[in-house]
């Protein structure tokens, strides 16, 4: 996989210049960090380019790093070129209070449910999504459970004495 990193990086840098924030190997995986406004254009380019042909969206998910001030939230895209068996990962980061990303459903229909899941757990709004509502959790959950500040334990339990748990 290491040999494909310079190939893809060169093409992306030529096409998008400064919008490609970084290109690196993370363990054995090529990872590209892209500016949020250009992420859909980059995916579309990777899809359409006759040499790259990343035409399968393996996964799309959110991520939360509360210590990265100004870039707390992120969306991660896993793409797959099935002909050459190339796999890459795209990332884009943004602030918690500005959690809006353009939708990928214009390129991949399968992004529909993935984006709903990401919205459900991280509260990230996908601009232009046709049906952005909760998919796995109950509608009246009142929060986004994968954010680090969300209390994991069920808040309705009355039988747990905090003294017994040392808190």
């Amino acid at each position: 996989m290491e040999d494909i990193l310079p190939v893809i990086e060169k093409k992306l840098r030529d096409a998008f210049g400064e919008d490609v924030v970084s290109a690196e190997m993370m363990r054995d995986f090529p990872v590209f960090t892209i500016k949020r406004d250009k992420i859909i254009d980059v995916v579309k380019y990777l899809y359409d380019d006759p040499e790259l042909q990343f035409r399968f969206l393996t996964d799309l998910c959110g991520i939360h790093f509360p210590d990265n001030k100004g870039h707390e939230l992120g969306v991660i895209y896993h793409l797959h070129n099935m002909r050459k068996n190339w796999r890459i990962r795209l990332r884009t980061f943004f602030a918690l209070n500005d959690a809006v990303v353009p939708t990928l459903t214009t390129v991949f229909s399968t992004a529909n449910w993935m984006e709903r899941e990401t919205y459900d757990f991280f509260g990230i709004t996908f601009k232009g999504h046709p049906n952005l509502k909760r998919i796995l959790n109950v509608d009246d959950l009142g929060g986004f459970p994968m954010l680090k500040e969300f209390p994991l334990e069920d808040p309705t339990r009355r039988d747990k004495d905090d003294k017994m748990f040392g808190r």
Partner: protein, 199 residues
């Protein structure tokens, strides 16, 4: 019809079976017996009939359901207690057996299944998850099905052994046998259902 064959391994009629085997059949309830008549209370007869012909509705969502399958199968054989006829329609079922983790999203469905059952109905909660949420003390899991429906018998364990499930069935049978046929019409019972918001 007389029984001519004495070989106990080839029983030719019910008399032979009952006389020569150790199978316990359900005895008559307490009552007054005389030549040609037998008198007892309706409660006892109805209780006996209901007790020995429970139709369970298995609501199995996870590993406890697998253990329940073993309970139903030949080795443990819940049919010995008259409960071998599983009903997959809530309308025909007497006993709702909830086995496994109930997610909060599943709670309204469980409640709907319960309300679709006809009275009299009983509920057995099998395993730690159904009874209390178990190890899943988390935002997505219902912390015990008694948050949404009334429960008659809790079977602890993670998962419980089939013997424990059978014991739970026997405890349900005790409740069924001793229940007054008027109980479901009492204001106490209606008030209890109202606590759960069930008509």
């Amino acid at each position: 019809m007389g029984c001519r064959v004495k070989n106990p391994f080839i029983p030719h009629c019910m008399n032979t079976i009952i006389k020569d085997s150790n199978i316990e059949v359900v005895g008559a309830p307490a009552g007054i017996e005389g030549p040609g008549f037998f008198a007892t209370s309706l409660d006892k007869v109805v209780g006996m009939a209901r007790k020995n012909s429970l139709w369970p509705l298995p609501f199995a969502t996870s590993c406890c359901g697998i253990e329940f399958m073993a309970t139903m199968a030949a080795h443990y054989d819940m049919g010995r207690f008259g409960a071998e006829r599983l009903s997959f329609s809530p309308r025909q079922a007497d006993l709702l057996m909830v086995m496994g983790t109930i997610a909060k999203k599943m709670a309204p469905i469980l409640r709907q299944v319960y309300t679709q059952m006809a009275e009299p109905r009983w509920v057995l909660s099998m395993g730690a998850c159904a009874s209390s949420g178990g190890i899943f003390d988390t935002y997505s899991v219902l912390q015990g099905i008694d948050r949404v429906i009334p429960v008659d018998v809790y079977v602890p364990g993670c998962p419980p052994r089939p013997e424990q499930v059978l014991d739970g069935i026997l405890r349900i049978q005790d409740l069924v046998q001793n229940e007054s046929i008027r109980r479901r019409k009492t204001p106490e019972y209606k008030a209890m259902l109202a606590q759960y918001g069930i008509e």
